[in-house]
Symmetry: C7
Subunit: 81 residues, 7 copies
């Protein structure tokens, strides 16, 4: 049930923006307030994601967590660096 | 399972309004209270969205965040500028 | 998977009530406590909606917000004026 | 994917109970704590509903709100009068 | 997409347990903390339910509410008496 | 839409683990903080479950509740004894 | 409805990362704040998971819980050790 554009304006797809950022650094904001910054190495259609070399920030405390697999429904925003 | 209008009144589709605002400035209110203002460059049928040149406001603090991909289920309202 | 009435009583459909209020003023109550009053110009089967000339009320503060696209899952009640 | 009864006991369907109460007074309790009492004039398979001549009670404050369309996922209980 | 048992152990189905309790007294615990005790007269595949002669308990206050239709997604546990 | 393993490592299925614990004691943690310990006698593909001879613990208070049917979406973890 | 990559960059799948960690130690963060560390022995397409030899940490209190079956929608992040 894809959205069928009715106009002639080119329309970017959110998942394609994710794909263009594969192997690049992104910052994710989660629903629980944590932010995760790492290299995006994969994702699927539910916006489940894989980050490598990840740094987690939680109430100003930073820690390295390496590889992280995230459930998409916990992600609020994805910001490419 | 689209809604089939029963009357003769023209009925706008919310996703078409989004499409008419492609490459224009919109303000999004998120469930976590943040507002994001930026240029809407894309979206999909789940209302996942892409903003460019985004400014985030969180408890009166404003910061520039550039490109943002948003999961649709965190978005409450979209206000075209 | 529409509901198939078993009796002979006429049964109104919620989306048809929305359609009858196209281009009329409605008041929406959102899950986050805000109310939005504006002219309903469109909606879809998920109850995503479009309001024009909208006035937002949030903790007794009123502001004009013009056109608003709303995600249906944030809407609690729709009251035609 | 309807439930197929395995026994011989007659089993009422919740939506049929709603239909039997069409044009009768019902009291709805919502997730946000409000109660709405009004005449049920319609509903659909998602339990979206239409009430007419509705009276809203919110923290002991009562106000008349006329016609109300409700999103089903905000409804907790429906009590026929 | 039913679960296909791989072993030989008989496996009861939760909805069948509900059916065996038709016309019997059950106690429901809701997400909002209320408990409802009444005679279960029906349910559907979403665990929407119908109780008759229902008694509602909310913070130690008990009141009779008669017939209640419940949306399944507000129900936590069902305890047959 | 089952997951299709790409490697050669044997992969257990969560529902099969539940099936192996049929008629055995399990402890469930619910989203509302309650724990329920009882004999698992059934479940379905939504992880709706049936416990027999159940003991409920809520803020250090224990009470016997007998048979319990649980909606799967309230369950966080299942721990076989 | 898998995501169809439009570029030539290899794209890892989150569930494949889980599969590569079968029989290895992972740390799960849950929505309720608990963390669970154990050997991942299985999962399904909903990210329901099975951990063995699990250690639960809840507000700095650690306890051994053995085998745990988890509902996927309670999981926020999965960190392979």
């Amino acid at each position: 049930m894809d959205y069928k554009p009715i106009g002639g304006v080119p329309l970017a797809m959110p998942l394609n923006v994710l794909e263009r950022n594969i192997n690049k650094s992104v910052t994710l904001t989660l629903k629980d307030g944590r932010t995760l910054e790492g290299k995006l190495t994969g994702f699927d259609e539910y916006m489940n994601m894989i980050l490598e070399d990840t740094e987690e920030t939680k109430e100003d405390q930073v820690r390295r967590v390496g590889t992280v697999v995230l459930r998409g429904n916990n992600i609020v925003t994805i910001v490419p660096k």
